[in-house]
Amino acid sequence: MANVRPRKISRKATGGDAVFENGARAVGASVLLITGGVGVFLAWQAYPTLERYGWSFFTESQWQPDQDVIGIAAVLVGTFSVAMVAMAFAVPLSILMALYISEYAPARFRSSLVALIDLMAAVPSIVYGLWGFFLIMPYAAELALWLQRYLGWIPIFDVANTDPNAAVWDTTRYVASAFCAGIAVAMMVMPMACAVMRQVFSQTPDGEKEAALALGATRWGMVTSVVLPFGRGGIIGGTMLGLGRALGETIAVVLIVSPAFEIKPRILEVGTTTVSSLIAGRFGEASSSQLSALLAAGFVLFVITLLVNTVASVVVNRSRSGAGTDA
């Protein structure tokens, strides 16, 4: 009797709980392991290239493996210009769409709209590529001509060596550009960004929204004074997540752009290239040293995407606290 002692209180899981806990931990760790493994593999493969070319790998714009000239300056510029065009189309679209779904849409349509947007995310990349190439490019070229004609004095809307007012417009200059590819990529980025934004908008406390309406705000007034400040983190996070995806889009870009290795800010002009489209286009015929160069480019993209996504998730996480409304 005297031996009876209270059970030792422990937070350590036992039995089935322990199995589950450790199992879950292992699975969770495997995600880190895989991502880390990809990074380590890319870095390992990229090392010979980076060692051989040094800094010139980042400053050289030409990619001519058969002449031993390799660099990703132009490729990185192209990657960012395609991504920026995509964001310019996708961000306004997804903010407005998320706002409409969460604030304006009749309740019975809401779920089907959400499903449709998710469906857009499920359409394969190559379909968007074909859509962009055959359906959108002719119109995008005319839009590009219009932009050059009236906004050509802004460097990014310039198209070198061509006269927008020529009798027969030089169509070849306005197609297969970062602009055309960006439009197709925007359609792929939009659902993802929209989903994040919609989720954050829908977390806006009803009390504050009703308070705004009770104080006499219109619905738009309520959106601007409550929903948007509350969802600011979501907007930034969704944009960054979309940017992460836009940077890595491959097949649609391969189909649309004509590869050109030039550093050019002129997004409307024919020819550009992105890291992922470079890898997809050159992978098949690469010798081992060329493969290393391609993987080095992939490594750079990996690091950039990792940074962008990390920043995005940090921003999204902070916004969950609703910190935006305190401001």
Partner: protein, 555 residues
């Protein structure tokens, strides 16, 4: 019951076996009893169209062949990494290139074997008004200068001279080149390097061929991966002013025009099966069986073939087959599939070459190809190659009696008189796989011989030169004056409405100074300034008025 159920499959398989043997004995080679296995290959897009057709043809015989283009460089690479069963490439393994990158089979044993001939064509989109120009002619030098950015406008004097004084609109030329490692590029640059080294080498910065076309940054050239992408770009909505190089079958397939290229005897010719066959009679084939490059081609003689019917940039395409006895990917079934697929391709398949925009192989190469196929049997004695006679092939180049004669080259029609340098140009269309000739041109070389001979002199070509010019080849001056839109300077199309007329489109476009960029800009700024002034001036005016507010007024 049980026993019968057990017996039945045995009986059935016995019957099947007997039947199989029976068919094997009666029809070796085509027998359904032959065991096939799927074979896969990658490589050239130059010859892809005909290969895909052959694949579709043999599919009914139970042979499953999967072929994916992607460029000759990729084909050779995949083969060397043991990831494919065969490769198709225009050029052989290069050993090591100038930068020391390896281009070898990585130790895998292989043999080259020619599968089809063809011409590297230059297809273009050039519109006058709304009508496509379909009878452009260019000399080799002009082509070389176009692709090295020395000639950049369609109204260039060199192009006008090639077309006997016919002027094209002022439109920048956009060369479309291959962006991937390509055998077509290799063929084209081999020709450039051999014929126009003074133009090509400074541009390339080296000598010899390259599989990767050097695209100068800042130039107008557009890169595209794969022959079909090049063709799509040229024939696409934005293709006006483009020119690119692809195998003749691509424009034929799309019904798109090709450039008639000037040959050494002063005729502008199109790469039809006849002209290619004639040109290739001068191809030098490596006949050294001990050489690693056995059967590969040296084309200098083709480029300089003096026959009036020869298309200069003609070449053969090669398949690379694995011949090692211990090849890691090969099985008897796979070897048999390769052998039978090639047997069909080299034999019956060659009849399709012409209609598809290629040119059939001559007999000596088919024979050599058969010998290469026999290497598969050497590697594996279970491969069945019985009853395969070259002579039974229904190949249009074969003459039943004379093995050395290339029948196709012998019957090739002489070029039309309006195709001669300084004549014409002919109004007939290109890219439709029909030879441009004056009536019956056959029989210009009475007994041919291996070389095809240069007997097809213009005078010998059936109809006289005077008669030829009358119908179609009216020179630019005598054509009705084109209608020119006064506002834009563009030529209004409409004189030749249908392609069926066969008339060429003629125009001498003039550029009108309807719109000067400087004017637009100047007046644009002026207008903007005025608008700003209108908005801002009243405000300034109001502000400049003296204050009238009385002191002491309640605010």
């Amino acid at each position: 019951m049980n026993r019968r159920a057990l017996l039945r499959p045995a009986v059935r398989s016995a019957i099947a076996l007997t039947l199989a043997f029976a068919t094997l004995l009666t029809q070796p080679g085509t027998a359904s009893a032959t065991v096939y296995a799927q074979i896969e290959g990658t490589g050239s897009t130059w010859s892809e169209l005909i290969v895909q057709q052959w694949i579709a043809d043999v599919d009914a015989n139970g042979m499953k062949v999967v072929y994916t283009g992607g460029g000759s460089s990729k084909g050779r690479k995949d083969f060397s990494q043991n990831s494919t069963d065969f490769a198709i490439s225009e050029i052989p393994y290069q050993g090591t290139d100038e930068t020391g990158q390896a281009d070898t089979s990585n130790g895998r044993e292989f043999a080259y074997l020619p599968i089809v001939a063809g011409g590297t064509a230059f297809t273009y989109q050039l519109k006058i008004g709304n009508d496509l120009v379909r009878n452009l002619r260019l000399s080799g030098e002009t082509i070389a200068k176009i692709f090295t950015n020395q000639i950049t406008n369609w109204n260039d004097a060199a192009i006008t001279a090639d077309n006997n004084g016919r002027t094209f609109p002022s439109l920048p030329i956009t060369p479309v080149v291959r962006s991937d490692g390509s055998g077509t590029t290799a063929q084209f640059t081999t020709w450039l390097d051999s014929e126009f080294p003074s133009i090509w080498r400074p541009f390339f910065g080296g000598s010899g061929l390259t599989s990767y076309y050097p695209k100068e940054s800042g130039s107008r050239a557009i890169g595209q991966a794969g022959s079909d992408q090049v063709m799509n770009t040229i024939s696409g909505f934005a293709g006006n002013g483009t020119i690119g190089y692809v195998e003749y079958s691509y424009p034929v397939n799309k019904d798109y025009p090709v450039v008639k290229v000037l040959n050494k005897s002063g005729y502008f010719v199109e790469p039809t099966q006849y002209n290619v066959a004639v040109a290739l009679t001068k191809a030098k084939i490596n006949q050294d069986k001990g050489s690693a490059l056995y059967l590969t081609q040296i084309l200098d003689g083709v480029y300089r073939n003096t026959d009036a019917r020869a298309y200069p940039i003609s070449s053969y395409s090669y398949m690379v087959i694995p011949t090692g006895a211990d090849d890691p990917r090969m099985t008897t079934a796979k070897r048999q599939t390769i052998a039978d697929f090639l047997y069909y391709s080299l034999c019956a398949g060659q009849t399709k070459a012409g209609p598809y925009g290629y040119s059939p192989l001559p007999l000596n190469l088919v024979q050599a190809g058969f010998e290469q196929i026999a290497l598969l049997q050497q590697a594996d004695s279970a491969v069945d190659l019985t009853d395969r006679d070259v002579r039974s092939c229904n190949n249009p180049t074969f003459d039943g009696k004379n093995l050395n004669k290339n029948q196709l080259a012998a019957i090739a029609p002489a070029p039309a008189a309006c195709d001669k340098q300084g004549e014409g140009p002919c109004g007939t269309e290109t890219g439709n796989n029909e030879p441009s000739t004056d009536g019956s041109g056959g029989g210009t070389t009475p007994d041919g011989g291996e070389t095809g001979a240069g007997g097809a002199s213009p005078a010998g070509g059936g109809a006289g030169s005077g008669a030829a010019g009358a119908g179609s080849g009216a020179p630019g001056g005598s054509a009705p004056p084109p209608v020119v839109d006064p506002a834009t300077g563009a030529v209004v199309g409409g004189t030749s409405t249908g392609a069926a007329t066969g008339d060429a489109i003629y125009a001498n476009p003039t550029e009108l100074a309807a719109d000067r960029a400087l004017d637009t800009r100047t007046f644009g700024w002026l207008a903007a300034l005025l608008a700003v002034g209108l908005v801002v001036m009243p405000g300034f005016y109001a502000a400049s008025l003296p204050r009238r507010r009385k002191p002491g007024t309640v605010r």
